[in-house]
Amino acid sequence: MQGERIVTQSQSTGRWPGAIIARETARHAVRPAAMWGTIFGFYVGLSAYGYASSYKTAAQRHFFAKTFGTDVGINAIIGPAHQIQTVAGFTAWRSLGVLSIVGAVWGLLAGTRLLRGEEEAGRWELLLAGQTTRRGAAVQALAGLAAGLLTLWVIMAIVVTGVGRLPEVHIAPSSALLLAAAAVSGTAMFLAVGALASQLAPTRRQAASYAGGALGLAYATRMVADSGAGLEWLRWTTPLGWVEELQPLTSPHPLMFLPIAGLVGAFSCIAVYLAGGRDLGASTIADRPRTKAHLRLLSGPAALTARLVRPVLSGWLVAIALTGLMMGLISKSAGRALSDSSSFGQMISMLGAHKGGASTYLGVAFLVAAVMMAFVAAGQIGTARGEEASGRLDHLLARPIARWRWLGGRLTIIVGALVIVGLTAGLSAWIGSALQGAGVSLASMLAAGLNLVPPAVFLLGIGTLVFGVKPRAVSAVVYGILAWSFLIEIVGGIIRANHWLLDTSVLHQMAAAPAVNPDWTANAILVTLGIASAFVGGFGFLHRDLVGD
């Protein structure tokens, strides 16, 4: 019997027992990669199908191209449009502009989680006691991540190829493979950035901050390059510019894969080299193990929450402020292009708008800020769950702290932060537009900033509800709702979807301020529903067991 058990254990270690880190990393990377590959694939498919079915005639398509293809603001946000009077051109433009960013965010988070995160959790210590070295472990982890990347590409390519067979869409299989490769190349580069940041920083959070900063810089550079200010050459200095230059469905430039592959290879090699030159758990950039005690914001659970979320929220505040400023700066020229478009004017009229120009543009562009705000809310309720899952919450709730006090204090701080972030978005956009003399009032921009808060509060409330009744599902549910809402907003308008479908998007309940006046009644309903959900979730939290991972 014992002999049988030994044989079974021996078999379970697999053919290459020294490759356990690669297998474990791949196990954690492949499943989300498959999910994202499916989402990416359907996103491309829906974009193509929606465009083809909504703009059936050549005249409609030319008008669409004239309206959107020359829009400086839209070009700055999602990249320049090439041949968007064709299904292929529109699909490549819309898909690459969005998916390269989403993929890059996923890539850097996965890279830092599966390298620095695993090391920080102490799991590598066990594995490094086996048949591998620190460099070998880093190589294995990168191989595991590569398996995830391959999965992302394969699944996306399969879905796009399938949708491409529809007569309205008609994307050739070879083009589908190229489009998938282009979309995934952003992910690949920022996986490598995440792997490198994992060697530089002592914690997963810091590594993600470094990699996020790199992405922010790359995106900002790309925005400036595409803003029509005569700085197109900047596109060559940013990885996101290289992805743009691939132009997979219109005029492919496969040579642009060279710098992409070069960056991935170079950063991976540097990451492996640095991994071998440091102690396990240490970082290349020296950590300050000792520091003077700072006792501010350590007076209780709410103060602790404020202290812990401060770095993340500050990062979001800067990102949203820069985004708002950029939108404001280009709002005048972008608004002028929109004012000349009769169909766009009709659309805005349908929304109840009585304004035009820069306000109209900002009303549309603030959807990006709304998504960022929703990300803040989703991330913060996920962090609350993380406190419970890690066991850190036990240290507070085993002391004279009521559960409602901990949760209520946390939610109050998050809502307060959302209001500040929203107002910052409005204020920074107003500053940008005022610098260009766009004629948008401060009051309307502050109202537009506040208008971003209710969807985020609603999402926070739903997240709290899930936290109270099914805590392990919090992240999946809130990010699922966010991804769905974003998908509906991007694709729904183009495919002229049924209003029932559009209403399933949290973001769709938000008026496009400042293009239209904020709908305070709808906002009040959203906030009320969010608060009610949070109360139900809070009640569930008071009456359930604390549960770990």
Binding site: E120, D287, A398, P400, D545
Partner: protein, 305 residues
């Protein structure tokens, strides 16, 4: 007699069909140091988490100083401090900042005693928690619990990761706490620790409290080990009342005696016994006696503790 420090009646916790704790009736007097023994998955952590109100009972009640743990957790927590076996803390805070935070949250700290504990446990409180070893993190939460001088210390395998010197420092602190009249409830599977520190011991098996008493009481109810060496052939002791587990090795015989030893002594005296040794069972023997009978029956979930 005043209100007990801990009292539970029929306390149970069920996960689906699995009972992590079944019908626990427990009473711990004020000022007692009580050990709670059991292997992994016996229900020790579940008991402590129920007493803390971190999980809710499936049946039964638990009170600390007369306050319901489930209904009045905040009031209950004013009287106690808790040390978990796994010390997950906020990695960006330093040790000193963590102690400040936990002291603020508790509401009362003896700062002189805190500084003395930092010295005793030889902790560098200026380091960030993420740079601490497991042992240092454990020291930190021990100091955080002891510095508030609580009426009740709930300790769940508190010395995991501590070196022998720090283990000694811990024992010294618990002795002091006992002398000051603090109540200590110590869950452990380090038998020497429990034997050295505790007035009473409870033994938990598969979620059921199978034995509870002072060491003397537990020994009294258990078998006495007897070893006899004979000049001539060994007599048959298997038929002697109270004698069992007879082992013969040449002219030496070992056996266990339950209850009075008088019948055995009569037989030995008539059989030319040359040398006679006897000893009471150690806590380890008592523990193994309870578990040896059912080894391999543990099927509890990982969080059943």
């Amino acid at each position: 007699m005043g209100v007990p420090a801990i009292q539970s009646v029929g306390l149970s916790k069920r996960y689906g069909d699995f009972y992590a704790l079944r019908g626990l009736d427990l009473e711990v007097a004020r000022g007692e140091v009580v050990g709670f023994l059991g292997p992994n998955g016996a229900g020790k952590t579940t008991t402590i988490r129920l007493l803390l109100g971190l999980i809710h009972p499936s049946a039964g009640t638990a009170e600390i100083f007369g306050l319901d743990c489930h209904r009045k957790p905040v009031e209950v927590h004013r009287h106690l401090a808790y040390v978990p076996g796994e010390a997950n803390l906020w990695p960006t805070l330093t040790g000193g900042e963590t102690l400040h935070l936990l002291g603020q949250v508790q509401g009362s700290v003896d700062p002189i005693y805190r500084d003395e504990l930092i010295q005793r446990f030889d902790l560098d409180a200026s380091k960030r928690v993420r740079t601490y070893s497991k042992g240092n993190r454990q020291k930190l939460i021990l100091i955080a619990a002891l510095m508030t001088r609580p009426d009740l210390l709930l300790l769940d395998e508190p010395t995991s990761g501590l070196d022998p010197l720090m283990e000694q420092a811990f024992r010294h602190c618990i002795h002091e706490a006992g002398e000051r009249g603090q109540t200590v409830f110590l869950s452990s599977h380090i038998l020497s620790e429990v034997e050295a520190l505790c007035d009473r011991v409870g033994i938990l098996r598969d979620g059921i409290l199978v034995d509870m008493g002072t060491l003397a009481e537990l020994r009294h109810l258990s078998s006495l080990t007897v070893e006899a060496t004979f000049d001539r052939s060994v007599p048959d002791l298997s038929r002697v009342p109270g004698v069992n587990s007879v082992e013969i090795e040449g002219r030496v015989v070992r056996c266990q005696v339950q209850g009075t030893v008088e019948p055995l002594l009569k037989v030995l005296a008539a059989s030319g016994v040359h040398e006679l040794l006897s000893h009471e069972p150690s806590l380890e023997e008592l523990f193994l006696a309870h578990y040896g009978r059912t080894s391999g029956s543990d099927g509890s979930p990982p969080d059943a503790g």
